[in-house]
Symmetry: C2
Subunit: 335 residues, 2 copies
Amino acid sequence: MRKNDVYYFDRPPHVLSWSSCVGKKEGEGPLGGCFDVVASDDRFGQETWEQAERAMVETSLNSALQKARMSAGEAGCVLGGDLLNQCVSTSYAVRQLGSRFFGLYGACSTMAESLILGSCLISGGMEDTALCTASSHFCSAERQYRYPLEYGGQRAPTAQWTATASGTVLLTSGKGCGIAVTRAMAGRIYDPGVTDAANMGAAMAQAAYETLNGYFSATDEDPASYDLIVTGDLASIGRGIVLELAKDDGFDLGPNYTDCGIMLYDADRQDVHAGGSGCGCSAAVLCGHILPEMSRGALKRVLFCGTGALLSPLTTSQGESIPGICHLVCLEAER
Amino acid sequence: MRKNDVYYFDRPPHVLSWSSCVGKKEGEGPLGGCFDVVASDDRFGQETWEQAERAMVETSLNSALQKARMSAGEAGCVLGGDLLNQCVSTSYAVRQLGSRFFGLYGACSTMAESLILGSCLISGGMEDTALCTASSHFCSAERQYRYPLEYGGQRAPTAQWTATASGTVLLTSGKGCGIAVTRAMAGRIYDPGVTDAANMGAAMAQAAYETLNGYFSATDEDPASYDLIVTGDLASIGRGIVLELAKDDGFDLGPNYTDCGIMLYDADRQDVHAGGSGCGCSAAVLCGHILPEMSRGALKRVLFCGTGALLSPLTTSQGESIPGICHLVCLEAER
């Protein structure tokens, strides 16, 4: 049921397994030891960057299934997407599975969007299991959105680094591993008028704040009720704007608020400027760090807030501003 | 609940209103008199083709709301997408509404995908109303997928014509206009190995047949139980392959099977080669022709089967084959 904009799952879907697969640079970051698969080479044994991204998605889908001791055909449905035009990394990766498939496009909010819709399908009795997945690859994204790597383009100080990463969560209507999706809040689009595609954190920050503020108003809870509130991916500039917007409203997000784009890299050492981004960033931080921490009891209640910048290179070149969206998922560990 | 791959809506969502907005050529086709808005000029008063597509989507969203006497803010959520990179026609059009938004990418199957997920959200009690929408524009699609119009490229005889069209269905948990979404079947990906992007009907035909065959097996019904079985958009070549696949299995789809890509244009007179395509084609045929025919009692039970080719120009240039998907929605008129 929905109450005040928040979806409540009366029969909460449970997390059955998860998996993350990342590139070399992500493996060298602060969370490097957490991921299921770290590539020694961002080509993942393939000939093109696009095939590499597809292989990475296949790895994370198959690994989540293996952990649940399920074969490819046993997954009820897959919900997911990526950043490549026509979401081809995901659809080609899903081709080998034979599952029902819902293609999504939510930019960097895709992981949260897939968790919301997957949870609705399970909670509503339509699916017993759902694979929720999202990915991005630095090299395929740079070529598509900016310049081929060989060009050696300069990056702006406000720019974020598209993560080479994929994350998959397998949801079930049955008994999982003690983590449930209990609530969610689907995002609305906000556009603060930012036109600089090298500053997407600023473009998405208002959407993130509006979703968080709306959620706390709707639930009568406050940030202290959560062990972790994490946006993904605003990186340092966007996170700073969220904190300013909150301060202007006399609202304290507290010490447990951070961002997946900040967590994935050591910004100074790894030269990622504002921080990480890309659908795969929040997906991999969720599956590599947050869910394992919840599973071992270190985190009990988590708000996972996927943020997406709904632009294209064409809209930017036509002078359009960048609309943002933020989808929120409430995860709770049962012990 | 789901039984044998088919979603059954115990609390079926009802259609509250619908709207279609199309371009000049579509207005000159066999269904020209059916659409709510026919543009006199495919620019829809805008400066670029992309802005034109966005204006067309805004028109169809707003018109569906107006018919239901609802204001912009009153729609619970929007689910939809289009063919442009990063689905920008839909997200920019939704920006003005202020509704919760789920961005989808299902290529030409998007209208059916949005109806399935919107029905699940309503049936599961998460939303009271959902706007399901899909669009495409010939000129923005040609530039993105093939050549700018000014180039005057030759089209292959097997090619389909991307419709300049948008359709929106407003679903409700309450009393609608006597048409309900009673069942649905989400598609799986099938790839028969077609590599010719100018023959997408052939690439999608297997997915369409597998979904239809699976649906009739799962429900123990036969095609004669339906007044209309419509795929969208296989056009003449894809529809022919579906009929051959059915014949090979000794399965007769009967006289009520046709395709939105065949219905939208007069192929000979309008020089569209195999027929129409694009997310907007099946969306506009649904909203301009099928739902009005159901409403006036001329059609009672309809299977609306959205078919999508999950390729990108890049995958084609890298030699990849074209995977297809087909999502099925069962619509029933109550009188």
